[in-house]
């Protein structure tokens, strides 16, 4: 089955729908309103042990509206875009606004901040929704996984997915922006076994442009190598050691920092980086920057959830906090202008004193390389950090053996100041792009303490 789809052809219809919803809000008495309409069309093919397991088609359309009645706000959303549902949904939002209370900070972002120019960010690379091609890619990927290492005995499958989506945001300032994007991915989860039990791991490739994906065989091979490398893990003697986060594991560290710098955490006083603007909070070589308009990236966008133009900025520059992560609302709460981050960040990059990965291992000499984190043990208010971990023990700058069933603990405030260096290996797949990160010391709990 093969469908040639081009969701850009829906942009006009979705824009018309957004306009109709805004008109309806005005007719029912909303002083101001904003609406977001999205459509997503996709195909997912999953293969397990060479056989087709799941073939799933999706076509979603939904919209959400926020209305303002004076300084009061109500929101509603639905997956039903029939005329009757539009009417009911807008009426519901207004009904809610009548029962909420005045908040002087509510309201649209200022009209002069709307993204005036919507550049082409090179985010749309359609390919036909072709089940045979997707099936072939997933089969080739998984087959290479099995062929790479004889200890790969089982599979949770390889999955190829393609989707196109279109998001339209408009508000009663008259702003109306549309963004159509494509997404292509291929992932593989494998299981390896030896006399000490089973281990699983995975690898994936994802890009806006199908031509930029890793080859299916390369994804399968990497998944197999990563999985087999985890077999026969040991524990680590409880103690304090340097910890090197892999680029994938380091992604969550950047996420915790952004959470702490978000307007919501700041005005709720629920941040371990409270009132940190202009304070030095991290090693002086560290930078956390946002580049929202990089062409072709998964995180790129030219306007945020308020319709405000996105802009390049540093949240942390040379270890010093230079900006919070603000929407129009959270900005007003803090008496600051929006940073164009309603809905979050777009292409966040962590940079610092950069060394080759091998040099980082040499610097660490003896310690823990973490590839996998588990759990919810991060307290955003205090910065207390305690997570389950797996990875490799490093001895003399070399991988000695895999380790698991251990925890790593510290406080994020200390960890940020103890970043010794970062790797030259940023993981480009996603909205948060981080290299390996070497932390000087953390408590590792595993087996009995070393004597």
């Amino acid at each position: 089955m093969r469908q040639d789809v081009d969701i850009r052809q829906q942009e006009g219809e979705l824009t018309g729908l957004a306009e109709a919803i805004l008109r309806q809000a005005k007719r029912l008495g909303a002083a101001a309103a904003e609406v977001s309409v999205s459509e997503d069309i996709g195909l997912t093919v999953k293969v397990r042990k060479g056989e087709l397991e799941t073939l799933a088609f999706n076509a979603d359309r939904s919209f959400g509206i926020a209305v303002y009645d004076g300084q009061r706000k109500g929101s509603a959303s639905t997956s039903d875009s029939s005329e009757g549902a539009i009417e009911e949904t807008v009426a519901r939002a207004l009904g809610i606004a009548r029962h909420t209370q005045d908040d002087p900070c509510h309201g649209l972002a200022d009209a002069d901040l709307m993204a005036a120019h919507l550049p082409d960010l090179d985010l749309f690379h359609p390919a036909p929704l072709d089940t045979e091609a997707a099936l072939a890619a997933a089969q080739a990927c998984e087959a290479q996984g099995f062929a790479t290492d004889q200890r790969i005995v089982n599979s949770e499958g390889a999955e190829a997915a393609r989707s196109q989506s279109c998001v339209v945001y408009g508000n009663s300032h008259g702003f109306m922006g549309a963004a159509s994007t494509t997404s292509h991915s291929l992932s593989c989860v494998l299981i390896a076994e030896d006399s000490n039990g089973m281990q699983r791991d995975y690898w994936y490739t994802a890009h806006r442009n199908p031509g930029a994906l890793e080859a299916p065989e390369a994804v399968g091979r990497t998944a197999a190598e990563r999985t087999a490398a985890r077999l026969s893990p040991r524990k680590v003697a409880t103690g304090s050691y340097p910890v090197l986060f892999s680029p994938q594991a380091a992604r969550s560290l950047a996420g915790h920092v952004i959470g702490a710098l978000s307007g919501g955490a700041q005005y709720r006083k629920a941040s371990f980086l409270l009132d940190a603007l202009d304070a030095e909070v991290a090693s002086p070589h560290l930078h956390l920057v946002e580049q929202p308009r990089l062409p072709g990236r998964l995180g790129s966008a030219s306007f945020d959830g308020d319709g405000v133009a996105t802009a390049e900025k540093a949240f942390i520059d040379a270890g010093v906090v230079r900006s919070y992560v603000l929407s129009a609302y959270s900005g007003r709460r803090l008496g600051l202008p929006t940073t164009g981050n309603a809905g979050g960040v777009h292409n966040l990059l962590l940079k610092g004193r950069t060394k080759a990965f091998k040099a980082l291992l040499n610097d660490m000499d003896r310690g823990l390389y973490v590839t996998d984190l588990m759990g919810t043990g991060v307290n955003g208010v205090t910065g207390d950090y305690s997570q389950g971990a797996a990875g490799f023990w490093v001895e003399g700058g070399e991988f000695a053996y895999p380790v698991d069933e251990i925890t790593i603990a510290s406080n994020l405030k200390d960890m940020l100041r103890q970043v010794a260096a970062v790797g030259d290996d940023p993981d480009q797949r996603g909205n948060i792009i981080t290299p390996s990160v070497l932390i000087e010391t953390m408590t590792v709990a595993g087996g009995a303490a070393a004597t």
């Binding site: 397991e53 208010v381 389950g388």
Partner: protein
């Protein structure tokens, strides 16, 4: 036939101009494609939430979702498609897309639909309509005022009221025909307290598949009190220890241990595929003889309760582990058929746009005989863990974590100082064999559990009595 089916048809089929015969014809198309099972799932869900911050109810939202999901199962293969519009055209397109998994054509007579006779295990009313907006707002304000009244170290209070009402109808070529209405309510209170340079947060929440009127009159105040208590305890917390040691788990919500250590590993899909650390171990000792673990969707009004699962199979108490011996897995139809087992009422999906898979409902451990005080006294040095944030498991290696948000040191058999939050890590099959004492105080969680699996979230319940685990690794910083 229970009145639930005609009621669901009035909500789901009639407004769309669809008849029962249209649905049966669609099943005939699926059966004709040579599928082992063809299934239609229709769903209508409304949700409303209200949020309080800075002492005012500043936001509310409403969501309406309705749609249909179509599946064709053939061997180990699944074809799936869905449509947001429950309309004849959407149904026809979804049926054609789903049946493309099989190559055969034509139509076929399907087995006559057999309506389920399961009686509802929870309230069937709409909680959104049952209370006026002003009364909902008042609940939030009461929680806020109570929290601020209790202690002047309370700096911030956030309260959220979430109300859901879902109507589902499922029909399948195996004759399954079932429907139910599923209310779900929840009230959450979260506070920030400060003293000197220290800030801490505390949280309490509760809910279930029951009307708001069934909760105690002091519900908002009780939750506020509990949230403030949790936060204040942590103001005095010292660094948690690091390394393996004995842990006493309090009753109720710490049952998240069972959910992670054994629950996921006993879901049918992972065992059929041989990817679980518990695969091929039925009849073996996988826990200490003190442990009997049950998954039960029939518990009245609980958050994880369902009259029928999303495939129309009535829920039941499913014994997973009995006196330490592995007895069975949780099954949906696909995995039950492929494993030659019976479906256990655990086939759940997040929505019509997702596919069912084996999921937990309410998972708990049966009580033992020990007095909880005796269990603490039996532990000379260790940790007493009372509250948890959440957990996670790697079902293949069996490695799991759960993160304590309220815990204390046990010194000389007595609970002493509070410790900072820490993650506990262990291996499911190993940790369960180290459960050496089980209390007589089984309690179920207050009703806030959300379980995630392969990108799908569903509400669940957990429960357990006080337990002593002889050794588990605590991820603190004090060595």
């Amino acid at each position: 036939m229970t009145p639930l089916i005609p009621e669901a048809e009035r909500t789901l089929l009639e407004p769309a101009g669809l008849s029962r015969q249209d649905a049966e014809r669609a099943l005939g198309r699926l059966a004709g494609a040579g599928a082992d099972l063809g299934e239609l799932f229709l769903q209508h869900r409304i949700a409303e939430s209200w949020a309080l911050e800075d002492g005012i109810v500043k936001e509310g939202s409403f969501n309406l979702d309705r749609g249909l999901g179509v599946r064709a199962l053939s061997g180990e293969k699944t074809g799936a498609a869905y449509a947001e519009d429950i309309r004849p055209e959407g149904l026809a397109n979804a049926v054609e897309a789903a049946r493309s998994i099989t190559r055969a054509g034509g139509e076929q007579q399907v087995r006559a639909l057999a309506p389920t006779d399961a009686s509802p295990v929870h309230d069937q009313g709409n909680p959104i309509a049952a209370l006026g907006e002003q009364d909902k707002v008042a609940l939030l304000e009461r929680a806020d005022q109570a929290a601020r009244r209790i202690d002047n170290r309370v700096q911030e209070v956030n309260v959220r009221l979430s109300l859901n009402f879902e109507t589902m109808l499922v029909m399948a070529t195996d004759g399954a025909w079932a429907a139910e209405a599923r209310p779900l309510v929840r009230l959450d209170v979260s506070v920030i307290v400060a003293e000197g340079q220290r800030r801490e947060r505390g949280f309490a929440g509760a809910g279930g598949r029951r009307p708001l009127s069934s909760f105690s009159h002091e519900w908002p105040e009780d939750l506020a009190k509990e949230a403030v208590r949790c936060a204040l305890v942590n103001l005095d917390a010292v660094d948690a220890p690091a390394g393996p040691m004995p842990v006493v788990l309090a009753p109720g919500w710490p049952g998240v241990l069972l959910h992670e250590a054994v629950g996921h590993g006993l879901e049918g899909d992972f065992n059929r595929k041989g990817s679980s650390a518990f695969a091929n171990r039925i009849g073996e000792q996988v826990a200490s003889a003190h442990c009997t673990v049950i998954d039960d969707g029939t518990l009245p009004d609980r958050r994880g309760s369902l009259t029928v699962d999303d495939e129309g199979t009535p829920t039941e108490p499913t014994v997973l582990i009995e006196n330490g011996i592995l007895k069975g897995y949780m099954q949906d139809k696909l995995n039950a058929r492929l494993m030659g087992a019976a479906a256990t009422g655990n086939g759940r999906r997040q929505s019509y746009a997702h596919q069912p898979m084996p999921r937990m409902t309410n998972t708990f451990m049966q009580p033992g005989s020990a007095d909880p005080a005796e269990i603490i006294a039996a532990c000379p040095k260790g940790v007493y863990a009372v509250n948890f944030g959440g957990g996670q498991v790697d079902i293949t290696s069996g490695r799991f974590v759960f993160s304590a948000t309220e815990a204390y040191l046990i010194e000389n058999g007595k609970v002493t100082r509070p410790i900072r939050g820490a993650t506990l890590i262990g291996n499911g099959p190993e940790v369960m064999t180290r459960v050496s004492m089980v209390g007589n105080d089984l309690s179920l969680d207050p009703g806030v559990g959300v379980c995630g699996k392969e990108g799908q979230s569903v509400p669940v319940g957990v429960g357990q009595p006080t337990l002593l685990v002889d050794e588990i690794t605590i991820g603190g910083t004090a060595t």
